[in-house]
């Protein structure tokens, strides 16, 4: 008992904010789930419409396009930012001069708001103003880079901007992983005559698995909830070509005044997120069990 009293400040600092934010999260999620089953339009109302909001949302072109885009954007973004982060981390790991400065530069985009990133890239990628015009003005007049206004390629502009923004984050995690590799392992491999490529492939990278999984999960949940970046960069256009689920939710709730359907779309997003997080939790659980058995 005296121990608990002595450690009361610690408990208070940890548990009070934690419980508060958990209560917020849970109560608002439950509230949204409830709204998704009501006929709410401009303001929340009670009532029960079953799954009607869900079927209505899933039948719209907007949602179908948004879902397909999410699959493409999610996998391309996660994979490419992983590769970019890993390559940057390995290059930085070569005990080079000015590492701190470089690390700050690569991490810097993370400190920029997505709205700023989106706006800047929307000018850079605009064919009439940005990169395409620059290259054409330099003399290569047939150069084309008009993905921003090309329906089929526009989603890739979001991938580009998102990678620019967050590969620094992956790099930081990987770099920490690379630095924590046991020096004895590396020495042993060197004594056995392994070259640098072989050493990374066989010795160092395999130890990075847990970090890789963490990066994937964090980036995926970012991808699923992407909103501000798309809104600033393409606003879902050209046409509906770059719709994403979060845009659909916002659009239904706040532009069209259909709270019930917006809530249904939000719950669908939550389900997608769970589809990512539950396997991760299961994997963590299995790993821990294996570790305690060993």
């Amino acid at each position: 008992m005296p121990g608990v009293v002595r450690r009361l400040p610690e408990h208070l600092t940890i548990w009070v904010p934690l419980l508060l934010s958990a209560a917020h999260l849970v109560s608002f999620s439950l509230w949204t789930i409830w709204i998704s089953f009501t006929p709410s339009t401009l303001v929340p109302v009670s009532g029960w419409v079953g799954l009607r909001n869900y079927t209505a949302v899933m039948a719209t072109r907007n949602w179908k396009i948004a879902f397909d885009n999410l699959l493409l954007f999610g996998s391309a973004f996660v994979l490419l930012s992983l590769v970019a982060g890993l390559v940057l981390a390995i290059l930085l790991d070569q005990r080079i001069r000015g590492e701190n400065a470089l690390r700050s530069i690569f991490l810097y985009p993370l400190a920029v708001s997505f709205v700023v990133t989106g706006t800047v890239w929307s000018w850079l990628l605009n064919p009439g103003l940005g990169i395409q015009k620059l290259v054409q003005d330099l003399g290569w007049t047939s150069f084309r880079f008009d993905w921003l206004v090309d329906r089929d390629m526009a989603i890739w502009t979001i991938v580009i901007a998102a990678i620019w923004q967050s590969s620094g984050f992956a790099m930081a995690l990987f770099l920490a992983g690379l630095r924590s590799v046991d020096a004895d392992l590396v020495k042993a491999a060197q004594i056995d005559g392994a070259g640098p490529i072989r050493m990374y492939r066989r010795v160092i990278l395999p130890t990075l698995w847990p970090i890789t999984i963490t990066v994937i999960v964090i980036q995926l949940q970012f991808a699923i909830s992407t909103f501000d970046l798309v809104r600033a960069l393409t606003n879902g256009g050209p046409g509906l070509a770059t719709q994403l689920p979060a845009l659909v939710v916002y659009d239904l709730m706040f532009q069209r005044g259909l709270l019930g359907r917006g809530a249904a779309a939000a719950v669908l997003m939550l389900l997608i997120l769970l589809a990512v997080l539950l396997p991760y939790a299961a994997w963590r659980y299995l790993q821990r069990r294996r570790a305690s058995h060993a």
Binding site: T41, L42, V43, P44, A56, A59, T60, R61, N62, S122, N126, P127, G128, L129, D146, L148, V149, R151, T234, N235, G237, P238, G239, L240, A241, D251, F254, Q255, R256, G257, L258
Partner: protein, 428 residues
């Protein structure tokens, strides 16, 4: 500044309510105060509402306007939050069928007595009046009118095309655009890439081809009209317009291209009169462009009506009630409407305002003339792209189809007709 209903204020309010008849209360037992929200924060719109606020203050009122910049829907989010919190503004911007929809979620002020005292009903176009009195009672007041299908013709582009007259029908329009292209105008159509922009191209085409079919299909959602030959022709005309636009605009607003338009690098804008306010505010002169009514295949003007309005929310505070009375009187005042429209480029709601005097542009005079003719010929219809024809949910579902059609040249007009009909069905 949030309004807190303190017990003392409540007591004072009820005492005043008991002690004085409503008329006397409104007449200045208290200093009128108005809390208002609108989307008008900058440019000519911001200047106009600031000028209105000055007039309000000159009459002894306290003006508390909180602008919410961005699209109208952004303003609506604040309005919704305030209504749910039980603290609506005394007055807010709202327009079209949304007036009826929102009046169901919070009590509004019955303005019938004030409207009658001002003799306002006689001078407002009947279709417009109907939108502001859902359930037969005036609860909102229109402030200014735009037509969303006015043609803004760049003088320099007209010179390049060697055109000597302005287009009347769509055939004339297409002819002019071809001439501009041949004369060296890079993009005959000056446009933005926003959703309302795309919607305007379609509604101008459709209403210009047949206002009767437009009314049936878009305003009344008549199934036959939604799949009729006129709407197919409208999509075909929209495609022509889209082909003359600069594909590089992305999601930029139309105002980004004003300089290219004035320079004659772009030729024609299909815009509402607000573009005049924006052009003037950007420092361009009336000599740089001509404004004429949108193309109409039967040669009589077609007016795509877009009107901004204020709705009045019920408040119990005597000072706010007095403020609402003063505001309503100001909004209906011809001098105030004149001042407002001369800043924004719109035309007054009152049909009895004389536009021949100084301060009005030829474009505004033509717009007002077009409205008169269009009302006489039953060719004044409500704009879809600017949320006048349908509630937001349905409008957005239809604009989805239109914006995709404008941006995706592989969609055929027939397919677009089917998609639009399906979108209407799905959103109802």
């Amino acid at each position: 500044m949030p309004i807190t209903t303190t017990r003392r204020r409540l007591l004072a309010g009820s005492a005043a309510a008991l002690a004085l008849p409503a008329f006397a209360r409104a007449q200045g037992a208290v200093k009128p105060r108005l809390t208002a929200i609108s989307q008008w924060s900058a440019g000519s719109d911001g200047a106009a509402i600031t000028a209105l606020g000055k007039k309000f203050e000159e009459k002894g009122g306290i003006w508390q306007h909180s602008p919410v910049p961005g699209f109208t829907t952004e303003m609506m989010n604040k309005l919704r939050a305030q209504i749910i919190a039980g603290d609506p503004p005394a007055c807010s911007q709202l327009k079209g069928p949304e007036i009826a929809a929102w009046s169901k979620i919070a009590p509004t002020v019955n303005l019938d007595a004030l409207v009658a005292a001002a003799g306002y009903e006689k001078v407002v176009a009947p279709d417009l009046a109907k939108l502001h009195k859902p359930g037969g009672k005036w609860i909102a007041l229109p402030l200014q009118i735009y037509s969303t299908n006015m043609l803004f013709l760049s003088k320099r582009a007209l010179d390049k095309a060697k055109a000597d007259k302005t287009p009347v029908t769509w055939a004339d329009f297409n002819d002019l655009a071809e001439k501009m292209k041949a004369g060296g105008v890079t993009y005959p159509i000056a446009n933005g890439g926003t959703r309302p922009d795309d919607g305007q191209k379609f509604e101008a085409s459709f209403a210009g081809i047949s206002p009767a079919a437009y009314r049936a299909a878009i305003m009344n959602l008549d199934k036959n009209a939604l799949e009729g030959p006129e709407i197919r022709a409208a999509f075909a005309q929209t495609r022509k317009i889209a082909d003359w636009m600069d594909p590089n605009v992305g999601a930029q607003p139309f105002a980004t291209n004003l300089k290219r338009f004035v320079d004659g690098d772009m030729g024609i804008m299909i815009q509402g009169g607000w573009a005049q306010g924006v052009l003037r505010n950007a420092g361009f002169k009336f000599d740089d462009f001509i404004i004429v009514p949108g193309p109409s295949d039967n040669s009589k003007p077609v007016f795509l009506l877009n009107a901004d309005a204020f709705i009045f929310w019920q408040r119990s505070e005597p000072d706010l009630q007095a403020g609402q009375t003063l505001m309503a009187q100001l909004v209906m005042d011809p001098a105030i409407q004149t001042m407002y429209s001369q800043i924004t480029g719109s035309i007054p709601v009152r049909t009895d305002v004389d536009l021949s005097g100084e301060g009005w542009s030829d474009g505004q005079r033509r717009t007002a003339g077009a409205l008169k003719d269009a009302v006489a010929n039953n060719q004044a219809v409500l704009s879809l792209a600017h949320n006048m024809a349908q509630e937001n949910g349905l409008t957005a579902a239809m604009i989805d189809v239109l914006t995709e059609y404008v941006k995706n040249k592989t969609i055929k007009p027939e397919q677009a007709v089917t998609r639009l009909a399906e979108a209407v069905e799905g959103a109802r």
